[in-house]
Amino acid sequence: MLVAESNQQGEMRVLYGILARAAMERFGKVPKEETESRDIYFLGILRLLDMYRFDSIKSGAPVGILETPTFHPDYLASEQEDQSAIENALASTHASMRPNQNDKNAFVEEVKAALENVHKRGAGASASARAIAKEFLEGLIQELKRSK
C-alpha cells in the first residue's frame, strides 16, 4: 500500500480534531508568530469546509495511477466509516449553529469568512468573526470526539 494512501482506523477524523484544536489555540496570537504553522492549521479547516460544501468527503480520494490495486474491503469500510464520521460531525455542527439554514453554501461562506478573518488578523479579528469561528471549531471538536 502507498504510504500516501494509508488510513488507519478513524485517522482523518482524529487529524481534523487536532487541526481544529490547534486553530482554536491560535485565536489570541499575533498572526506574525509561527505564520506557516498557522497557515497549515487554518487552511486544513478551510479545505475541510469546502469538502463539506461540495459533498466531497465521502466520494473517495482521487487516484492518479494507471493501474490501481484493488483495496481490501476492510480498508474501504474503515475509510468510508471515517469519512461518514467527519461528514456527520460537520452536518451536526452546522445544524446546531444554524438550525434554520439548510443551505450548505451559505453556512460555509459565513464560517469561512470568519475563519479567514481570524487567520489573518489573530487577536485583531472582529468580535463577531471570533465568535462564529470559535463556535464552529468548538462544535466540530465535540462532534468529532463523539464519533470516536
Partner: protein
C-alpha cells in the same frame, strides 16, 4: 520501550536533520527552496502538536506518527527524484499544464500553488500523478511518475493527460463542477448513474456481486476513470489515443478484464473513439495534405475497425451524451489558460511532419528580414505547441515515407523530445531578449 511521545519528538528532530541534509541543497533544475520551506512548515506544525499532545491519547499520537511518516516519505521521494531519469522538457510542459488546472486559490495564486516533483520508476505502467490530499499541508505536493525505461518516449507520455484528470478531481470546487457538468452528462443513461444500477450491471455482465463500501468505491472510481479519459483526450489532443491504446492493449489485450477499480477497457476505447469522431480529429475533413491524411488514416483505421467490432454490451456510453459532455468540458477547459488542445494549422503540422521525416527537430524559427536604417534582424518566435509536435511525431511513425531502419521509433521520440526542448529554449530567449537583434552588424 521508548514512550511514544518522546519517540515522536526524537523523530521530528531526525526529520529536521534529514530536511537540512537534503532539500536545503540544490535539487535538479528546479528550486529546492520551495520544497524545503513547505516541508519545514509541515514539520514545525507537527512538532508543535507533538509537544502538546496528551501522552495518554494514543489515537492522536498514532495519527501524528502517521503524518510524520508521510512527511518523511515525501522528503525522501523528493530527494531521490532525479531529473536525468526522465524527459525534463516534457516534465516542464506537463507541470505548466497541471498548474493551470489545479491552481487552488486565484487570489493567492502562486503563493499557494501546488508543488510538483518528478520521478521515475521501473515498469511500463507506472505513469502516475499522486495528488496529495491527506497530508497536513500549506501547499500541496504532487508527485509525477514516469516509467524509467521510457526516458525519451515522449509520445507515450501523453497518457499523463488522463492522470491530470485525477488531479482536477482533487480540487473540491472544480470536482463538483466537473461531476455536475461533465461526468453526470457523460454517463447519463448508462449503468453508472447509481450504485444500484452498477450493481445490477455487474451481476449481469461479470457475474460479480459488489456491496457496501466496495460497491461505493467502484462506483466513484469507474465514473472518475471515464471522465479522466475524456479529459486526457481534450487536453492532449489526437496523440492521446495512440499512446493510450498502445499501453492499455498490453495491460488488457481482450479489453474486457474485470477490475473493481477501472471500467472495462473496451467501453473506454469505444467512448474515446466516439469523442474523436465528434471532434473530427480522426478524419480531419477539409484537409487535403496527403502528408497528413495518409498517416492519419493508417493510424486510426485499425482503431476504428477494432471499435466497430466491440460487442454492444460493451458500447456502454451513448455517443450523444459523449458529445454533450465533450462540449461541456471544452467550455470549462477554455478558462484554464491554454489547457484545451486546439488543432494546428495543417500547413504548420505538415512542416513539422516533414522535418521529423528528414530527421531534424521540428522547430522552424525564422529570422525577420532586415528593417529600418540599422538593418538589424530579429528572431521571430512563433511557438509551436508541444502537443502539435507530439501529434506530428505519431503521424511520422505511421507515414509510408518513413525509413523504418533509419528512423526508428526511438529516433522519432528523441526528435520530438529535442523539439520540445528547443521550443522552450527559444521561448525563454525570446522572453528575455525580445527587443534585442540577432545581429547588430549586418553587411548588405
Amino acid at each position: 520501550m521508548l514512550k511514544p511521545r518522546m519517540f515522536l519528538k526524537e523523530e521530528c528532530l531526525n526529520i529536521k536533520r534529514l530536511l537540512d541534509d537534503t532539500l536545503r541543497h540544490a535539487y535538479g533544475s528546479a528550486k529546492s527552496e520551495e520544497f524545503y520551506k513547505e516541508c519545514r512548515a509541515r514539520l514545525n506544525s507537527l512538532s508543535a502538536q507533538v509537544q502538546v499532545v496528551d501522552e495518554a491519547n494514543l489515537a492522536e499520537i498514532h495519527t501524528l506518527a502517521s503524518q510524520i511518516n508521510l512527511l518523511s516519505d515525501t522528503i525522501t521521494k523528493i530527494e531521490r527524484s532525479h531529473i536525468g531519469e526522465l524527459s525534463w522538457p516534457f516534465a516542464l510542459v506537463i507541470k505548466e499544464m497541471a498548474l493551470a488546472v489545479c491552481r487552488e486559490n486565484v487570489k493567492a495564486a502562486h503563493e499557494l500553488d501546488p508543488l510538483f516533483f518528478f520521478s521515475a520508476n521501473g515498469g511500463m505502467f507506472v505513469y502516475a500523478v499522486f495528488p496529495e490530499t491527506k497530508a497536513l499541508s500549506r501547499r500541496r505536493i504532487f508527485n509525477v511518475v514516469f516509467p524509467r525505461s521510457f526516458k525519451y518516449q515522449v509520445l507515450l507520455h501523453t497518457i499523463l493527460g488522463h492522470e491530470i484528470g485525477h488531479v482536477a478531481y482533487a480540487y473540491h470546487e472544480l470536482k463538483h463542477e466537473l461531476e455536475a457538468k461533465v461526468t453526470t452528462v457523460l454517463l447519463h443513461g448508462s449503468p453508472f448513474t447509481s450504485p444500484s444500477d452498477l450493481q445490477a450491471w455487474l451481476v449481469k455482465t461479470y457475474k460479480q456481486t459488489l456491496n457496501g463500501p466496495a460497491l461505493a468505491d467502484a462506483f466513484a472510481r469507474w465514473r472518475q476513470e471515464y471522465f479522466c479519459d475524456l479529459f486526457g483526450l481534450l487536453i492532449m489532443g489526437p496523440s492521446f489515443l495512440p499512446a493510450y491504446r498502445s499501453l492499455f492493449h498490453l495491460l488488457d489485450h481482450r479489453g474486457s478484464r474485470w477490475s473493481a477499480t477501472h471500467p472495462p477497457t473496451m467501453s473506454r476505447y469505444s467512448m474515446l473513439q466516439d469523442a474523436l469522431t465528434i471532434l473530427d480529429w480522426e478524419r480531419w475533413e477539409g484537409v487535403s495534405h496527403q502528408n497528413l491524411q495518409q498517416p492519419l488514416n493508417s493510424m486510426y483505421e485499425p482503431m476504428r475497425q477494432h471499435v466497430s467490432a466491440i460487442p454492444p454490451e460493451m458500447r456502454i456510453l451513448d455517443p450523444n451524451q459523449v458529445k454533450l459532455a465533450t462540449t461541456a468540458l471544452q467550455d470549462i477547459l477554455r478558462r484554464m489558460g491554454t489547457t484545451l488542445y486546439a488543432h494546428p494549422n495543417p500547413d504548420e503540422l505538415n512542416g513539422i511532419v516533414t522535418a521529423l521525416l528528414n530527421g531534424t527537430p521540428a522547430i522552424c524559427t525564422k529570422i525577420e528580414a532586415r528593417r529600418g536604417k540599422s538593418k538589424k534582424r530579429y528572431l521571430i518566435n512563433e511557438p509551436i505547441d508541444f502537443r502539435h509536435i507530439l501529434f506530428a511525431g505519431w503521424l511520422a511513425i505511421y507515414h509510408d515515407a518513413r525509413d523504418k531502419d533509419d528512423l526508428s521509433l526511438f529516433k522519432i521520440n528523441r526528435l520530438c523530445d529535442r523539439s520540445i526542448l528547443h521550443q522552450d529554449a527559444i521561448s525563454t530567449w525570446s522572453e528575455h531578449f525580445e527587443r534585442e537583434p540577432v545581429s547588430s552588424n549586418v553587411s548588405n
